[in-house]
Symmetry: C2
Subunit: 157 residues, 2 copies
């Protein structure tokens, strides 16, 4: 039950690809990411939610430098599976890293509150047991890292 937030990190110069109205049946995610991998585009995080219309939204991040390659591949994929593709640049990912974080919803709310108090808008969220990552505007990156450091008493570096 003990949770320790051991650090915070910022990854800048990210771009996001969002596929919307993705058909929600087996094989689609495999096809999308197989094609992307075949074109040597390196994917950072992948997030998928389901819409109420039975379709899926799949978002993933890439380094900004890979976006133009990713666009070529993804536009073709989107046409093939008949879904929409949208692209966003100038993003950053701020993360809180710890141990046993899922035992405590308190860590997520504390991180979200720190960002909210700094008026940093959270665009995407992805979590694991040891990490909570929020995708935000790149311009908010350093503010976000500082606020999260302060909120968790992580000290200056």
């Amino acid at each position: 039950e003990r949770i320790v937030v051991s650090g915070a990190a910022l990854k800048s110069k990210l771009a996001r690809v969002t596929l919307r109205n993705v058909p929600n049946h087996p094989g689609i995610a495999a096809r999308i990411f197989h094609t992307i991998a075949r074109h040597d585009v390196v994917v950072d995080d992948i997030i998928q939610t389901l819409g109420d219309g039975g379709k899926a939204t799949i978002a993933f991040t890439v380094d900004l430098g890979e976006l133009s390659d990713a666009k070529k591949v993804v536009d073709e994929i989107a046409a093939g599976i008949k879904c929409q593709a949208a692209y966003e640049e100038k993003l950053a990912k701020v993360s809180v890293v710890g141990i046993g974080m899922q035992m405590h919803t308190g860590v997520a709310e504390k991180m979200f509150k720190a960002l909210a108090d700094a008026k940093v808008n959270i665009q995407n969220i992805t979590t694991s047991e040891i990490r909570i990552s929020c995708l935000i505007a790149q311009a908010d990156g350093h503010t976000a890292l500082r606020c999260v450091h302060d909120a968790f008493g992580l000290g200056k570096k």
Copy 2:
């Protein structure tokens, strides 16, 4: 650049809460998860994507046993922030764990392909550098774990 998939895991008896058309401005995520934490509901993973209408979709998982408590809290939150809430039971999370997985989109596509070949539908995806998790129907849990074990040569246990 070396990636090692070191294991696979299955977590069953999960339920999912999906909030749709969530207002996308600072403070909303903090409010949602603060309220949830205050009611002692333990949240497993959190996923957020953005819709094309400028609203957000936030999905999170809880142990099945917490769903009825979560529903009371979330219905009230949804009414307060004017968004929709949907609930899903009988879910499971299959994960692949490794080191340096983000260096290789190949791990994600291999996992998704293993699930696709077994006709297991992927409902949600969340990743970190060391973990890829897919939320699936609980009935598919054991099949999914076996297929992922086989795909990555993880051996019997």
